[in-house]
Each structure stands twice: as structure tokens, then as C-alpha cells.
Symmetry: D2
Subunit: 208 residues, 4 copies
């Protein structure tokens, strides 16, 4: 690490994550209060740890004075939804917002990763007002179904353990789990219209 004060470096990203979480949670509540279907099931967020930022910078050859533009997911937001179809709706909402601007999109649903990873990532520019003035930061918004998220969380920890050398047996099982997750998403989509209609009728059915 250089002499930089890393905890201060993260401050605007922490702020961005806090604000974005509130905003997407509010979008969900707003739709519920309008008695409309919410494509958002729940929202989480995190700021990348310093050690992970530095690892990634090294891996991607990002110079230390270009971390802010070179590492796009220092601020990370994850939006979970029930149906694959919801992902597009959420992406459209994000495109239309005037408080952030879309930089680019990585569509790992259309282009599933070899490992089985499916998710939809939007990189946005988002301005925060700090004690030192206005500052624009990058944030990565990941949009996924619950099944995609379940699988991805697990793959992430396995890869972390085995680095790039996942044993064949495990790789095969992980791949089977990805198929099961995909199958669940497919079955769900096939009854989606029925479900959406019935959830309109019965909004507060579930534990919140």
C-alpha cells in the first residue's frame, strides 16, 4: 500500500452505497404503495474491502493512481428479483433515472459465463455530495434472480478456496447445481403470469 489514508478513500463509496440502497428500497415500497407489481425483491450493498481492491488492481494491471476509474465495483449494489423477466424491467428503471448515468452493461444472462454464472451488471456513474464537495463515483449494480444469487454466492466461495483449480468432481456438481437453479427459474417463468396476477390480489401475503 502507498501512504494513502484508505479509510478516507472509501468514504464517498460508503456514501454512494448507503444512498443507492435507500433509493432502490424506496422504489420497491413506492410500487407496493401504488399497488403495482415490484420487480425488486430485496436489495443489498457493500463497499469492497481495501485488500480486495488492491488484489483486483494487480490482477487487472490498474495503476494505483487510477483505482477510481479502473475498479468499477468498489461500490456494489445487488438487486434480487423473483423472475428472469424482472431483470429487464429493473434495468429500464435505472436507464431512466436522472440521479445516475449508465456507463455500460455486462449481460451474463444472455452470455452465460462458462462456469454457469448468470447475472446482469450495470456500471453507473453516481455523484455524491461530500464534506469536501461534489464527487462522481463508479458503482456496479448487479441484478439477479434469487436462484442465480444462491448459486453465485456458493460458486464465489468455492473459487475463493480453490483459486483457479476447482477439482473436477466439485466443478461437475457445481455445474449440476447451476442447472437446477436454471431449471427453477424456467419453471417459475412458465407460471409467471398467473403468479403476478395473484400477487397483485394478495400483496401482503408474505413475511416482510
Amino acid at each position: 500500500m502507498d501512504g494513502r489514508d484508505w479509510s478516507k478513500f472509501l468514504l464517498p463509496y460508503e456514501q454512494a452505497v448507503e444512498e443507492l440502497k435507500v433509493k432502490f428500497k424506496n422504489l420497491r415500497s413506492e410500487l407496493k404503495k401504488r399497488n403495482e407489481y415490484s420487480p425488486i425483491e430485496f436489495v443489498t450493498g457493500r463497499v469492497k474491502r481495501i485488500s480486495s481492491i488492491l488484489d483486483k488492481a494487480q490482477r487487472l494491471d490498474v495503476p494505483m493512481d487510477q483505482l477510481e476509474s479502473g475498479i468499477e465495483d468498489i461500490a456494489g449494489i445487488r438487486i434480487m428479483c423473483q423472475f428472469v423477466e424482472d431483470i429487464k424491467t429493473i434495468a429500464d428503471f435505472i436507464q431512466e433515472r436522472e440521479d445516475m448515468s449508465v456507463v455500460y452493461i455486462k449481460d451474463y444472462i444472455k452470455n452465460k459465463k462458462e462456469s454457469g454464472y448468470r447475472s446482469y451488471h450495470i456500471i453507473v456513474k453516481y455523484p455524491v455530495q461530500t464534506a469536501l464537495g461534489s464527487k462522481e463515483v463508479l458503482a456496479e449494480i448487479q441484478i439477479r434472480t434469487l436462484a442465480m444469487n444462491f448459486w453465485a454466492t456458493i460458486e464465489h466461495s468455492l473459487n475463493y478456496k480453490y483459486k483457479q483449480s476447482l477439482p473436477d468432481e466439485l466443478r461437475m456438481r457445481l455445474s449440476k447445481a447451476a442447472e437446477a437453479a436454471f431449471l427453477l427459474d424456467e419453471e417459475m417463468s412458465s407460471i409467471r403470469d398467473e403468479i403476478m396476477e395473484s400477487q397483485q390480489l394478495f400483496e401482503d401475503k408474505s413475511l416482510i
Copy 2:
């Protein structure tokens, strides 16, 4: 409805739900801070709506002056976990707690419902301290994997819409989705040991 003030009737249940949510969320944080595996993924809670309480009382023939003992899920807590194996661990934690006592258990995992519904329910007695003194209320704690929860939420809304007359086509698809959810749980269990070991290594991997 009788002349009762229903919003006051619900006060101790609201309190129970608030406290139980904090307690189970704290159990999760505690385990994380001890660097131990947490069987709890996340926790939600809700108080049953008055109209649903009255519907259920009528359906189960519970007299209006015995709602507190006859309707066991006025206070409801739901604990979601990653693996089927975690359910037992959580149930054991609950048995050992001295701030609540287990009344009885409904195991819909060993005894899957005909519809495909799987979940583990524990009915507990929990004392709350109100402005009017101490009061013991019943609460239902539902423990499920994420896949079980996903399916159950959807089945619940479909049943609500179609009452007891779910069309055959839909019933069949719902049953297929239950199988896909079950399959996902199976695949996950098969790689569980690997995953648990790797999650130990990599605790803060995921977006919180």
C-alpha cells in the same frame, strides 16, 4: 368483529416480532464474529393481519375469546438458511434458549405436504414486557431453505387466488417447480461440506 380494540390487541405480538427478529439476527452476527458458520442466512417477521386472524379463527372454529391460544401464528418469524442441514442446527439453538419455550413442532420436511410444501415450524411461548405488565404470547417460527421459501411464497399466492380450486395445469407446473426447488436443495447438500469449509475461509465474500 366484536367491540374489541384490535390495534391494541396486536401490540404484544408486534413487540414479540420486533424482539425475536433482533435476537435471531444477533445470533447470526455473533456466529460470524466468532468466525463460525452461521446456519441463518436471513430473518424476516410479520404480525398477521386482523382480517386473516378472523378468517383463520372461523376456519378452525376458534372461539373469539380464545384467539390468543387458538391462533398460533399471530406473531410469525421466518428464518432462511442455505442448506437443509442447517434447519436442524437452528431448531437445536431454539430448544436451548431460556428466553422462550417450545410448545410443539410441525415438521413438513420429513412429512412433506401433498402440495409439495416443505418447511419446519416451531411454535414457541415468548414473554413480552408491556406497559401493562408481563404477557406470554405464542409465536410461530418457520425455518426453510431459500429454495423452499421461494416455492412456498409462490404457492401461497396461487392458493390465495384460486382458493382450493387450482387449475390442473397450474398445479402440475407448481409441482414441477417444487421438484426443481427440491433438486436444487439436493445438489447444494451434496457439495455442502466443501462449501462450508470454503465459506469459513472467506467470510465476508458476499454483499451484505
Copy 3:
């Protein structure tokens, strides 16, 4: 009331209050993390009740179709600080922000109300992103010392009870309390420099 759906009318204001609370609380945390003095002690917010909006509209002769521009405090934020001197610092921060614009200022500190009321109000325009698109709403930000706030809360309830006819005896006592609050602020200012220096040293002194 006209046929309008009032709960939907309030949605953008609720969103503004949520976001502004997070933003000012974050400003406080940011300063603490930078080891700088925070002029913000704590932040609260509320959306005006429909009945109060309609009362005020009638009192101020605001036509029903101009509530959004005519009633400036439908979204209300209150920022409490320790010292009279902090109020100016907070006002300067607000002026510099690029996510809201100041419409005008009511300085009831320089121009104390006859009743004894002291407070500093900033009316801002703040854009929120709703499910229906971007929308600019008015919000009132009230900045006060803790002593001013204490007194104002009490005066507010007394006026509500007695409308415009506060008994002389009570008016006199309220005026004495205003003096005591003012005196407390004066004494605090006189030892302010010492205090600010010592609070720097001892940031996490107080219960959060």
C-alpha cells in the same frame, strides 16, 4: 378533500424525506470519520399529515391545485446542533450541495419571533426519481440548537391546544422558559472553543 388519492400524493415527499435524512446523517458520519468536528448532532424528518396540509392551505389561501408549490414544508427535515455557531456552518454546507437548490431562507434567529421562537429554516428544491419519472419537490430544512428545539416542541403543543388564545400566565412561563433556553445557548457558546477542542480529542465520548 377532492377526489385525489392522497396517499399517492405523498409518495415523492416520503421519498425526499428518506433520502435527505440519510444524506445529512452521512454528512455527520463522514466528518466524524475524518476526525473533524460535526456541526450536526442529530437529524429527524417527517412528512406532513394530510389534515395539516389542508388546514395550512386554507389558512394561507393556497388553492387545492397549487399545494405542491404553496405548502413548502410537506417534506420536513430537522437538524439539531450543539451550538448556535453550528447553524451557519450547516447552512453553508447546504448552499454548496449540488443535489438540491436553495429557494429561500427564513432566519428566525436573527429575527426571533415575538413568541420567543428561534430557528433557521431553509426551503430547498430537491429532485426525486419516482416510478413515474423524475419529480422536483420542495422541502423545509429546520436547523436549531438542542435548546431551541426543546422549547419549540413545547410551544408548538401549547399553541395547538390553546389555538391563538394562550392564557397570560402560561404565556409568561413559556417566555421564561425561552429565556432559560436562550441562556443555556449563551453559556454554551461562551465555552464553545474549549469544548470543540476537547471533543476533537475525545470523539466517541457519548452514547450513540
Copy 4:
């Protein structure tokens, strides 16, 4: 420090603070929902920092293996109220609760400290359910008016800066501020009955 894992040492205290905050906040909401006056204005809590625990242990000659019984404020809760009269009401509520037991009371209102410090402290035993089983911890509940709290916060930071040697000039000003705070409480008490009646009428007057 000895070899102890301090972050684990604090876990049950963190849990106690979380639970107690929720419980006292709920008491406030419950009373509001019952349309009764709430003696509780707001509630904060903190866990003492390790360094402060060790300082205090040294100052009070508490052996390192008796910290849990010798330092009574590792878990600290602060309850703020509007009127001096509310303090007694809150203390009575605490005495009657069955989820904690009062160990002893320090009444610095009847027995004001020489410095001018006024506050009411209740030391309680409170059982928490940890992952390792049930555990009883001590907690200190401080009850104060807003004016007492304002003054105490400031005195605390000044004492921290000057240790035991506060300059005479400052000591005198601090004493004057204590008088102003006391005077404010007196004035408030004198109009208390009027205020309580009017706040009943006008419950949601204030920003929350």
C-alpha cells in the same frame, strides 16, 4: 492486555445493548399507540470501548478476571425524557419488568454531584442467549432530561481533555451552564401539566 480475545469478550454486551434499545424504543411506541403519554423521548446505547474498560479497571482497582462484575457500565443504555418528573415513571417501569432485575440505583438528581452533574442510573442484571448458552450481564441504564444530557455530554468532554485539572475559569462557566440547564428543567416542570395535557391532544406534532 492479557491474551484474551477482546472482541469476543464484548459479544454478549453488544447483544444486551441491541435488545435493550429495541425494548425501550418499543415501550415508547406502545404508549404512543395506546394514546398515552410516553415519558421516554429517545433512547441510545453503546458498548464501552476496550481501552476505556481497562482504564476504568485500573482506576477502580478491579482485577482483570473480575471485569464482568466489577465494571457495571460495559453495556450502557441512555434514556432521555422531557421532564424531571418522567425519570421516576421510567424507573418504575424498569423495576416491574421481568426480563431484567435491578441490582442498585445511583440517584445523582437527589444527590447532585459537586460538578453539577445530574442523572439517574440503574444497574440491572440482564440475561442474553448466546451461541454458547445463556449468560447474565450487567448493564447501566442512565435516565436524564434533555437539558441534563446536554450539559453532561459537554462536561464529559471537558473532563476528558483536562483530566482532573479543569481551569477555574472554565469550571465556573461550566457551573453557570449547569445552572442554566437546571433552570430550564425548572421552568419546564412548572408548565408541565399544561404541556402534558396538550401533547395528549396533539400527539404527532413533532418531527420524529
